[in-house]
Symmetry: C2
Subunit: 410 residues, 2 copies
């Protein structure tokens, strides 16, 4: 790995170190992720678990060969945006609206219970009131990317439970925004009810409007715009334009960019040709591993040196899994035990959302470093545990062909 | 564009400013590039000229809304890698080897003449000897991305002239590496012939070996490896692995990453299924606009305030165009006037390679800021002028269907 002369020469030829480091980073992350995906599948586990583990191994916890930086963060963010966009393309808005009521119950119960349990656990362990509240808030928001990827890969997006998970995750994101705004203003000592209500109205209104009228608007507008354009692949360009546009709007109103990406995909699902699915799929294949490995990169096991931190982490992890599972299963009790299990399990992953909450808490000086580390471990842990549980919960389903059907295979 | 409250709220929810800026940058660059591509096509010009102009307009020269940064540079680099990879997939190595001798003549004449003319012009304008040599070196290397994109989009990659352009551009890159190494060591006052010879042997050897034996090796190895893997789209993953691997190796031996990307595509061209073409195409559609707009972003017209700089820039631009055209046309004289015109015109774009040379010259303290600005203008200018000239040079060709045939269109 050190052909010193050529290494130096190459560095000299293109002045930025970047020139050499960039293809190396791409190769390392992509190659390792896909290698471990294959290993996991050989053991009957979902491949994406291997891709997250690849990040853990390349990151500070084990080899420390790759550190998170602006470029990797951007690729990961693009990756999860395309993941949700791709899932949105497979989902009809009308189907999601139909399960709206149950999804709302799932989302609300899946926010309240983890918040209360997280808060109670931290109080019991002697944390300050405000720190306990932050940990509660960090347990709130489901990260839908992992579950969506598992369901899409197995062709299970059209199951009722899957649609409830997707709809609940979107509502969950709006609720999570409110919880975070509430908690942050509490930490700063001034809770403005009026501002919170406006936030709720704008974020909720945006989401609901796009979900409800997006599809019909695009069915009307897309063909007209397309007729005015001449370049090849114009439908795909319009789709990407909508993806970035709605992601940006979502960020403006306060919800996650990936919610905008999902809404964009869903709004397009009844308009675009198979070609758009194929091209989107290609981008996802390149970028999603960077999102998955990126989750693992955040983990730093070296923090867990003392017993207290280990115990606290274990408690937070178990609290996160059980409270979300119980809350979401409870919210979907009308569907019977099979679907309760599926919904409960599918909502478990917290991913990067919980990390962001804990980060804010740390920047406000109310969350300690060990607590932050515990929350990060919880986020990665819930992400790793959900896919095998989903495998189990959906075991009775006939395994259909994958949603995203190859356009041409020989 | 300034919904201040929500803007601030969104910034607060995710602590990095990045959260908001990233989808905005993606939307701005991608949207503007595709808008201008459509405008250019409406005027009968190649769309990619519009995408470069979009970068000029968004960049420091006009609106200054977007500045080059690590993330955009990485996306641009990935973009041009996928561009060359995609072109490589359409080209058979055996076809390229067949035109190798002519391509070699084209490359050598197309390196010598621009170097001499650039050096002579600068000397005539009173520049120092070493500065003149650096400008000469900056005029040497053809940037094949632009020409390749035009030819691929029009389905002209299988014309003899096109294949000579591709082969000559690869050889050109190896020669450019040598010129740069020579010139840089001259600036530092110590020319090591032995080291240069080694560089030449390693870079040339790598390129030739991969071009000659890549295809047959992969035809043998790919099916065996594929049989051992289980995940979906494994052929595509292997292709990407090879792309990053050969790009990295290319960087190690001193040639550009995009040469590695092109060689990877070419080595795979007789092995992979149409599915790999489609998925690669999707990634290219997303990323190539960032490469094209990125060229425009580098331009800063505000430097051109005085008459001397303007005159010098004009001279360098004209010298760059005419010397490359003459050299390459001369190198392909055996093919007759039509193909001489095509080859000469197709080799004109310099793109970012010239900028890198001038940057190194500046960092060594032998190239002035105005001269650097002139070289950047030359790089962008040659890139903008080549596509319409290519349109003209290939006008007599039957316009076949595009190389990259949509898998399913209605």
């Amino acid at each position: 790995m050190q052909p010193s002369t050529y290494h130096l020469l190459a560095l000299f030829v293109s002045p930025e170190q970047q020139a050499l480091r960039f293809p190396l980073t791409m190769l390392l992350i992509f190659g390792t992720a896909k290698l471990f995906a294959n290993v996991c599948e050989a053991f009957g586990q979902p491949g994406l678990v291997g891709e997250i583990i690849a990040g853990v191994i390349l990151g500070p916890s084990v080899l420390n060969w790759v550190q998170a930086n602006d470029v990797l963060t951007a690729l990961a963010q693009l990756g999860v945006m395309f993941l949700l966009f791709r899932v949105g393309l497979e989902v009809k808005a009308s189907d999601l609206m139909r399960v709206g009521r149950t999804a709302f119950l799932v989302a609300v119960a899946g926010v309240l219970l983890p918040f209360l349990v997280g808060w109670a656990c931290m109080q019991a362990m002697g944390a300050s009131h405000i720190e306990a509240i932050f940990v509660g808030a960090a347990l709130v928001a489901t990260s839908v990317g992992i579950t969506a990827q598992v369901l899409a890969a197995k062709g299970l997006l059209h199951q009722v439970a899957s649609q409830i998970i997707l709809a609940a995750a979107v509502i969950d994101d709006v609720l999570g925004l409110l919880v975070l705004a509430l908690v942050s203003s509490m930490a700063e000592g001034k809770v403005k009810i009026g501002a919170l209500a406006t936030t709720a109205a704008v974020a909720g209104g945006f989401t609901l409007l796009v979900a409800k009228y997006g599809t019909s608007t695009l069915q009307h507008v897309m063909p007209k715009v397309e007729r005015k354009l001449t370049v090849a692949e114009r439908q795909f360009h319009l789709a990407l334009f909508l993806l970035f546009g709605l992601s940006l709007l979502a960020t403006y109103v306060g919800v996650a960019a990936i919610v905008g990406a999902f809404l964009a995909g869903m709004a397009l699902s009844e308009t675009v040709e198979q070609r758009v699915h194929d091209l989107t799929h290609g981008i996802g294949e390149l970028l999603v591993p960077f999102f998955l490995a990126g989750i693992g990169l955040h983990l730093d096991l070296s923090v867990f040196t003392n017993r207290h931190t280990l115990t606290m982490t274990a408690i937070i992890l178990v609290a996160a899994i059980l409270s979300k599972f119980a809350g979401c299963a409870l919210g979907s009790w009308r569907l019977g035990p099979t679907d309760m299990l599926r919904v409960g399990v599918g909502m478990i992953p917290r991913g990067e959302v919980g990390m962001v909450v804990a980060q804010i808490g740390m920047s406000l000086g109310v969350v300690d470093k060990p607590v932050y580390a515990a929350v990060v471990f919880m986020a990665v842990g819930t992400t790793l545990i959900a896919p095998p549980l989903l495998n189990y919960a959906y075991r009775s389903c006939v395994r259909e062909a994958p949603e995203i059907i190859p356009a041409s295979t020989s």
